[in-house]
């Protein structure tokens, strides 16, 4: 059972980071971050299981949900704003800050 959970956690993290490494789409960036947070949250809950202290784990998970929703909202808001101004969702095409 615990192996499956560990594999799930690592899988979610792997998918999330892989996505962050290759995607150029702003919306997909936000999705990738969501996937990552879910993986991390699973890790917290799993940790709670291991030490038999689900109360703390659950409260932490709830707080993380709140925090990551706010991040997602701000991220999406920025993505929409970019879309409105530049008419694109491709992060590369608005990447002018370098050097």
């Amino acid at each position: 059972m615990s192996y499956i959970i560990v594999v799930c956690i690592l899988g979610l993290l792997g998918i999330g980071f892989y996505c962050l490494l290759i995607t150029r789409n702003l919306l997909k960036l936000v999705v990738a971050l969501q996937v990552l947070v879910k993986g991390a949250m699973l890790a917290v809950l799993f940790a709670g299981c291991l030490v038999d202290n689900m109360e703390v784990a659950q409260s932490m998970a709830l707080t993380i949900i709140v925090a990551d929703t706010i991040v997602a909202v701000i991220g999406l808001a920025m993505a929409i704003q970019v879309r409105q101004i530049t008419n694109t969702s491709n992060i590369r095409s608005i990447s002018t800050l370098r050097k």
Partner: protein, 502 residues
């Protein structure tokens, strides 16, 4: 009474944040050019926060403890919180005063001030928390408030770009922090930093992984190389006041969070100090090389923040690696304070120049180094204060940057370790290198022939802007001549740090 002190320290800026936003919403001026009057509520909020801060500090300096417990969460106001709060309150005051005119023409400034007050609250809160998860919460609150502040010019593609890059990398960092907390919680069942060290001696490997995740996660915020790529973008695109806050205190707060979290893992790994030494050296080099041929002023300062994090990390590395290097701890906290003042002054002075040369005329292009030519002819005070700031950043006496750098080095030298000396020489060379981009700025500003941009600048002075610059400038000059002024604060902070890692 003492419990209430700490609560008031957190509640005062929090309440004023809500007040400023709500009141500002209702009383927004119809004239776009005039500043929103509610900003003075914000100033009052900061000044009011000084009262519980001073009372709490007196308690700490008299050897008492100031703490409070709400449910499972315990907050303790100690030496480090005292120094961080002092820094953020002073810098916050300067930034808000500065922004009165700077942000006057912007749409919905009340949001700006509200977010700024939340940022200040979160930094004070972070510095007082005693468990891993609580630190993460405050850290996330700080991050969230800065995302919106960085992308405050929401109609500019570059500012949005910087905001998105910052958000993505910072959020990725949060993942590592949560993972690390999960690892520690899963092994020990505790999240309080005082209880963990006794429980983790047996499970070393996973604790090393947790430590690495902490360093990466918080290290993103601290702009440790190679996690620093977001910083030059975010710090150069944000409104100048926000840049000052970000460079002056937010990245250092990341470091405080990191140190607090690592202190829970102190029995697990002896080589945390080594990491800090390596990162310190890398940060100094990369930051300086990035700034050396930079053509945009604010971006140059952003890179210089990376190199200054290098000095701070170097000092932390000395403290963690060598037991004799206690003077470095003093130096680190002194440098954190000084850097807030120096970099704050640099960003705000550059901001004042940008405002007068461009912003006031609706031009939002970045200020180029070449456009600083002859600024002193028209804006002598801004030129003087910017010169003071950059020379202090370059570590020239009699300005404050010199003393704190020296203290960091002195601590390293006291270890009598030859490698520490090699690192100090390396840091010294980097300091010289950094003058390669600071000094020419001064030369440019004191030319007699002004650039075209300067000639067409707005001829008026903003009094509040100048006031905020002078406030920071006094600290930069005075602390170089009389370093004992804040030694109570730095001494207390360094004692706390040494205690944490004992």
């Amino acid at each position: 009474m003492q419990n209430n002190l700490l609560l008031w320290l957190l509640f005062t800026p929090m309440i004023s944040s809500v007040l400023v936003y709500v009141v500002g919403r209702f009383f927004a001026p119809h004239d776009d050019e005039k500043p929103n009057k509610t900003v003075w509520l914000c100033v009052a909020g900061i000044i009011a926060t000084f009262i519980p801060f001073i009372l709490a500090s007196i308690n700490i300096l008299n050897g008492k403890t100031v703490s409070t417990t709400i449910g499972d969460v315990t907050l303790v106001f100690d030496g480090i919180s005292m120094l961080v709060s002092l820094t953020v309150l002073l810098l916050g005051l300067a930034v808000i005063l500065f922004s009165i005119d700077y942000m006057a023409a912007e749409h919905s400034e009340e949001k700006f001030y509200g977010l700024l007050m939340i940022l200040i609250t979160s930094i004070i809160g972070l510095s007082t928390s005693t468990d891993l998860f609580n630190i993460y919460i405050w850290f996330e609150l700080m991050a969230v408030s800065t995302y919106s502040l960085v992308a405050f010019y929401r109609n500019r593609a570059t500012s949005l770009e910087a905001g998105i890059k910052y958000l993505t990398q910072s959020a990725a960092g949060s993942i590592f922090i949560i993972l690390s907390i999960a690892m520690i919680f899963g092994t020990t069942g505790k999240i309080s930093m005082h209880e963990i060290p006794a429980l983790i001696a047996s499970s070393k490997r996973i604790m090393i992984a947790a430590g690495a995740c902490f360093i990466t996660g918080y290290g993103i915020k601290c702009a440790f190389v190679p996690m620093h790529f977001w910083l030059p973008d975010a710090h150069s695109q944000a409104p100048s006041g926000v840049s000052a806050m970000l460079s002056g205190i937010v990245i250092e707060t990341g470091l405080v969070a990191l140190l607090r979290s690592l202190s829970a893992l102190k029995p697990a790994a002896a080589s945390f100090g080594m990491i800090f030494l390596i990162i310190g050296a890398l940060n100094m080099l990369i930051g300086n090389l990035g700034a050396l041929r930079q053509s945009e002023v604010k971006r140059m300062f952003a890179f210089s923040s990376i190199s200054h994090m290098g000095y701070i990390a170097l000092g932390i590395g000395f403290v963690l690696t060598f037991p004799e290097s206690t003077a470095s701890a003093n130096g680190v906290f002194f440098h954190v304070f000084n850097h807030a003042m120096m970099k704050g002054l640099a960003f705000l002075a550059a901001g004042a120049i940008v405002f007068n040369l461009k912003q006031a005329k609706g031009d939002h292009s970045p200020l180029l180094v070449t456009e600083l030519d002859g600024v002193s002819q028209k804006y002598p005070w801004f030129a003087l204060l910017l010169s003071v700031a950059v020379l202090a950043l370059g570590g020239l006496p009699p300005l404050s940057g010199f003393i704190s750098k020296w203290q960091i080095f002195a601590g390293g030298a006291l270890s009598k370790n030859p490698w520490a000396l090699v690192l100090i020489v390396f840091a010294g060379i980097n300091s010289v290198l950094s003058l390669g981009y600071y000094a020419p700025l001064v030369n440019r500003m004191y030319r007699h022939q002004p650039s075209q941009t300067v000639l067409s600048g707005v001829p008026k002075y903003s009094k509040t802007m100048l006031l905020s610059l002078v406030l920071l400038g006094i600290f930069v000059v005075l602390l170089g001549l009389v370093p004992m002024l804040v030694s109570n604060f730095t001494g207390s902070a360094s004692a706390t740090l040494l205690n944490m890692f004992q």
